[in-house]
């Protein structure tokens, strides 16, 4: 009996040691787990840091800019001659250039992209879709400066045969090429949205005797409207922010016009033009590119909010 107790004691001692070791190890582990989780969390938070950085920089530098140039002059002056001896800072010509090139681009991309999306989701066979979709997505993988080359030295000469008065730098050709570039953004996202519509709804329409086209236009497009609207908004953001195509093919001369047959600088082309020169840090012209960037961000923001409201209004829930 004593023997048994002593053994029991030894065993208990052993067990406590093991337990203590186990507890120590698991608390170390828990500490390690917490440290890793914190690290992962910080990584995720860094994406918010980017936004804070962008908004902070744009606001801070624009604030310095608006100390030299009044907001009223910025919004109402019809000339942008930031790099001249007698500088005028009226953003309107640059905004006009951006609006015209984007409008041309959207006139190309939205109809084509939507038709392609309907075609791929309703008409094309599974095999055809698997080949066509990645091939189209290659369009958005082409570096934009290559598209710029294409617009200036291929599309513009082609257009000049139809419209002999077209100048070498013009917004029409830049806009058309931007439009072709953003087709896959519009078509892929719209198609995803249409295919996400429950199959019963589609079958219901067919059971009523509707054709594929009727089903697509009267049933699928309204049901997938929220996704299609997101695709359009993303396409718009891309068109407005596109830089190299317009910098190469639309010229760098600010020009207050709504005629796409003329050349004009966009907001982004102006930023590129300034950056290529060697502007002293802190000068008004240096700050002006941040004010231009802020304008660009506000334009995309307005459209994103409009898209959000549209989506909210027309959202279909199944």
């Amino acid at each position: 009996m004593p023997c048994f107790t002593s053994m029991n004691h030894a065993e208990t001692a052993n067990v406590t040691a093991a337990t203590r070791q186990f507890v120590a190890r698991s608390s170390m582990r828990r500490l390690g787990e917490r440290a890793i989780e914190a690290l992962l969390f910080l990584s995720a938070l860094s994406s918010v840091g980017i936004t804070v950085g962008i908004v902070g920089v744009l606001l801070y530098e624009s604030f310095s800019f608006f100390k030299h140039v009044s907001v009223i002059e910025f919004l109402t002056d019809t000339q942008w001659t930031a790099l001249f001896a007698d500088p005028h800072y009226g953003i309107m010509p640059l905004v006009a250039g951006t609006v015209v090139t984007s409008a041309v681009a959207l006139l190309v991309a939205l109809p084509l992209g939507t038709v392609i999306a309907i075609y791929l989701s309703e008409y094309a066979s599974h095999r055809a879709r698997e080949i066509i979709k990645p091939a189209l997505e290659m369009l958005s993988a082409v570096p934009t400066v290559v598209f710029g080359y294409f617009a200036l030295l291929f599309v513009t000469p082609l257009l000049q045969r139809l419209l002999p008065d077209l100048p070498g730098f013009n917004m029409l050709s830049a806009g058309i090429v931007i439009g072709i570039m953003i087709i896959p953004y519009v078509s892929s996202l719209s198609e995803d949205a249409m295919r996400a519509v429950p199959v019963q709804i589609r079958e219901g329409s067919y059971a009523m005797g509707a054709t594929r086209l009727q089903t697509a236009i009267r049933v699928l497009v309204p049901s997938a409207f929220s996704g299609i609207a997101s695709a359009y908004v993303l396409g718009f953001s891309r068109a407005v922010g596109e830089t190299m195509i317009v910098a190469v093919a639309a010229g760098t001369q600010p020009n207050l016009t709504l005629n796409p047959m003329q050349g004009a600088a966009t907001i982004t082309a102006y930023i590129v033009q300034v950056s290529l020169g060697d502007l002293p840090h802190g000068s008004v012209a240096y700050q002006s590119i941040f004010a231009a960037g802020l304008t660009l961000m506000l334009m995309t923001l307005v459209f994103n909010i409009a898209g959000y409201l549209l989506r909210k209004k027309f959202r279909e829930i199944y």
Binding site: E37, V57, M138, V142, P143
Partner: protein, 306 residues
């Protein structure tokens, strides 16, 4: 009654006609995209194909178009991509893992998710503006390879995060439960099970993100990349101790798309030919990367069956 019948037939015929017309229209629209892509390739090849040679790949830019080459441009692109990949890949995967496996459902997580979705719509040139003010002037990193790599890393971070999340989401919950049942901690489960299974998807996303970064021009022009560089950055590998050097990080640089832009914006046709040749090399790089990504996606999809 008969009239009704015939008018209905008429309507049906018309509907079928519209339906068929639309099929043709859809096919045409699709072909417009594909034809443009081929026209672009053919245009580049006919303009620049004759300029492609070893001499072109191994020469510095020059005032004389026949002697000019893209050596400094492709070396610059490679080094910038190295910095971009080393920054964006760990950060993006970590963020993706957190959002998929760890994040509690609260307002902060929602904020991070909305933010990542919105970053996709921010024009790339705006990233350049932020990097110009923050990296170049605040942190005094200069117009260097380091600044360029970090800028592009921030630009592709959302793409890497989204790709990581999608890849992780495809791993079935039973895998996680099996790991937990054997006493694995959360990190052990993630590191030994979830990440290995999602490597294919993550890799595909990373390659696509990098192929986008290779073609980016605007943000790098904004941070003050030079367009004419007739020297190479300091070599990262040295003959004497400690054998590695990080001086190249602070070196001025140019990259492929900027070199091409420089040549396109000159009036002489000879330089346009150089631009086309540089464009061909650039297209080859991006298309090769995209092709690799598609192949990897296909292979991994085939190999893994849950």
């Amino acid at each position: 009654m008969e009239r009704n019948q015939s008018s209905r037939d008429n309507k049906t015929a018309r509907r079928k006609f519209y339906d068929g017309t639309f099929a043709i229209l859809g096919l045409l629209a699709t072909f417009i995209g594909l034809i443009t892509l081929s026209a672009l390739m053919i245009d580049l090849a006919t303009d620049g194909g004759s300029r492609l040679s070893w001499q072109f790949l191994l020469s510095f830019p020059s005032r004389f178009p026949e002697q000019a080459g893209i050596l400094s441009a492709w070396v610059g692109t490679t080094l910038v991509m190295l910095v971009t990949a080393l920054t964006a890949v760990p950060l993006g995967i970590a963020a993706g893992v957190y959002l998929e496996e760890y994040a509690p459902k609260n307002w902060l997580t929602a904020l991070i998710e909305i933010n990542i979705a919105n970053l996709a719509g921010v024009p790339s040139i705006v990233y350049g503006l932020m990097a110009l003010a923050l990296f170049v002037y605040q942190l005094r990193l200069g117009h260097s390879i380091l600044t360029a790599g970090l800028t592009l890393a921030l630009l592709i971070l959302p793409i890497v995060i989204v790709a990581t999340r999608e890849a992780i989401r495809a791993v079935p919950g039973s895998m996680r439960e099996a790991a937990y049942a054997l006493g694995a901690t959360k990190w052990q489960m993630v590191k030994d099970h979830v990440l290995p299974y999602s490597t294919g998807g993550i890799l595909t996303g990373v390659i696509i993100a990098l192929s986008r970064a290779i073609g980016e021009t605007a943000p790098l022009i904004t941070i003050g990349a030079l367009t004419f560089i007739a020297f190479l950055p300091d070599s990262p590998v040295k003959a004497e101790f400690p054998f590695v050097s990080f001086d190249w990080l602070t070196s001025p640089f140019t990259v492929m798309p900027i070199q091409m832009f420089n040549w396109v914006s000159r009036p002489q046709e000879e330089f346009h030919r150089n631009a086309a040749a540089a464009g061909l090399v650039l297209m080859f790089m991006t298309l090769a990367m995209n092709g690799l990504a598609i192949y990897l996606r296909y292979r991994f999809r085939k190999r893994i069956r849950w």
